[in-house]
């Protein structure tokens, strides 16, 4: 199998015009949109923070300074570790994890219902209803949540009127609004992969399990969930990655005390003007997320190949 053989097979199969188009499109996508930006970020993260005239000059050498900064803090600081940034980092990951679990708990029953109910029209309307809110801009949605969860928002008003509480609850400070907003933002990304696999699950298997006396929870535990595992893990991966990397929702809905790690990255890029440090932080976030996802997949015995199914 030589390269020329593979190439000529490829062109025979797709024709010359389409073949060239596919090749160019895929190469453009992978190289220009994925590989190059990440490589330049990686490169950035190992450089000194220099004023523009000195870039490319003799002082522009590779350094681990920014990575050290994230772990150890500024040289000569009071603490031996960069407690502030590391705490934010850990809390961000934990919160993203929490959002993922929340979405999974919410979406699995819904996806199961959608996937297994045979009614065509009803199901399609339900799915459509799920999509409509996503026509609205992300920032608008976040502000809408802020209003709903605000001191004089609908939720507080209703609870006050019903006499459940005597003072408004500060949902923003307690981060309830943030979790709700994030969870809501990625619900579809959780539902669709799970819905997709469950839709292909043979109904008879569920009935067979029931016929053999299994209660509903065991049917899910032994039959549906193992089958839906690829969908669940691709949903979880997307929600986790995107929550950890979210910026707008934490910015708008986060309480004053809860900084998201992406906000710190944003500050370094933007107000801080220190792109290499921002790049280093971003790389650390990306790599950590990938490692977490891969190790969870290993733990739950999901192979990467299964996810595309």
């Amino acid at each position: 199998m030589t390269v020329t053989r593979i190439m000529s097979n490829y062109f025979n199969r797709n024709g010359f015009g389409l073949g060239i188009f596919l090749l160019v499109a895929v190469v453009f996508w992978v190289v220009i949109l994925i590989v190059l930006p990440q490589i330049s970020m990686l490169d950035f993260s190992f450089r000194h923070h220099l004023p523009p005239p000195e870039m490319g000059g003799p002082k522009d050498t590779y350094t681990l300074e920014h990575y050290k900064y994230l772990v150890l803090g500024a040289p000569g600081a009071d603490t031996s570790y960069n407690v502030v940034d590391l705490t934010v980092f850990a809390r961000t990951l934990l919160a993203a994890f929490f959002v993922t679990i929340l979405d999974l708990i919410l979406c699995y029953p819904l996806a199961y219902y959608l996937g297994q109910s045979r009614g065509g029209g009803m199901t399609r309307i339900l799915v459509l209803l799920l999509i409509i809110p996503y026509w609205i801009n992300e920032i608008l949605r976040a502000f809408a949540f802020r209003i709903i969860f605000g001191d004089s928002g609908v939720i507080n008003e209703v609870m006050l009127a019903m006499g459940l509480i005597s003072d408004p609850i500060d949902f923003i400070r307690a981060n309830v609004a943030l979790y709700a907003g994030l969870g809501y933002a990625y619900i579809l990304l959780m539902i669709f992969p799970i819905y997709n696999v469950i839709e292909s699950l043979d109904r008879n298997q569920i009935e067979a399990a029931r016929d053999m006396g299994a209660p509903w929870w065991r049917i899910h535990w032994r039959v549906v969930i193992p089958y839906a595992k690829p969908g669940i893990s691709s949903g979880c991966t997307m929600v986790f990655m995107l929550s950890a990397g979210a910026l707008a929702a934490p910015q708008i809905l986060g309480g004053p005390s809860s900084l998201w790690f992406t906000q710190i990255i944003y500050q370094w890029f933007n107000t801080g003007g220190n792109w290499p440090r921002g790049a280093a932080f971003a790389i650390v976030l990306l790599v950590t997320c990938i490692v977490i996802v891969l190790s969870l997949m290993r733990l739950f015995k999901v192979r990467i190949g299964d996810i595309g199914k």
Binding site: D202, N204, Q205, E207, A208, A209, R210, D211, M212, G213, A214, P215, R218, R222, V223, P226, Y227
Partner: protein, 370 residues
Amino acid sequence: MSKGVDVNLENVWIKFGDFVAVRDANVDIKGGEFFSFLGPSGCGKTTILRAVSGFLEPSDGTVRIGGKDMAGIGPNKRPTALIFQNLALFPLMKVWENITFSLEVKGVSKADRRKRADELLDMIALPDQGDKLPSELSGGQKQRVAIARALCAEPDVLLLDEPLSALDLKLRQHMRTELREIQQRVGITFIYITHDQGEALTMSDNVAVMRAGVVDQIANGHSIYNDPATPFVASFVGENNVFRGKIKSIEGEMALINTNRSGELLARIATAARGKLKVGDPAMMFIRPEACNIAADTAPAPNRLTAMVKHEEFEGQIYNVFLEGAEGKEIKMSLVNIGQHRQSAEGDNLTLEYVPDQAVVLPVGELASE
């Protein structure tokens, strides 16, 4: 294993919206019996089975298992086990886990389950295959695993929904024998669904023939074949030559039919039609291809008719001879291959003869569509 129990359907109706899938079914199945529902696709066989297993509540009427009314009792609480049309093995569980799933539900320890699985695997002649996944088995092996899985639950009634339909002919014939043996060994009630009359006749103690939601006849295979209750049964089970006409005279069990195209023919009145036919009534008469023979004596008689050979098919153990009678009436005759080369030639004018007792008369009714 527990002894099989009776299953009774009393005036069972099953409707999907306005559509009536099962109409007033009355079926009594005795404990330990191998009972088949036979009927064409879409006649409501699966629907009946689902009502017995509990996945479906009848719109009206009663399902009894072991004499007990099953209304409101879910499938997981009924003493039945269902083998699905597509088997529905759990693809991600190993074979042994599949087989013992019902024990897992009951909380039996893993060691005991494994032991039971090995016993059942021995029984279905698949020893040492327990650690495979279902996808690693052949069609016939999957079949047997599905049977073992159902038997492992020790049901009083085993329900089988066309479990052999996906297998090739040889394997299907082999599995017939095997199923029958298993049934006799465990002694529980088997309710078997099929649209293959061969399966129904070879395996069953009793057969119910269904037509579009209606149970036409319940009897043993012999009676179904030789003494059909309706024209549908006569034409659906096995092959039959149909002659339409009017009853000319009745003498005891025998009737003389004035057929539209083939003259006067003598036949036995089917048991189900006794007392229901009068002289002058329109009627249908059925003669099986294998009941026909070439007559040595060509003199006209009420059990003889003349026809011309159109063509002949050689099937191995039999020849099928296709003939054309008076006014283009098509007639089929099957002759046993007794080693001769051919017994007829195209264009031959033959006189056919049959034993009148083997031909039956029924009131006019719906025939099975080809």
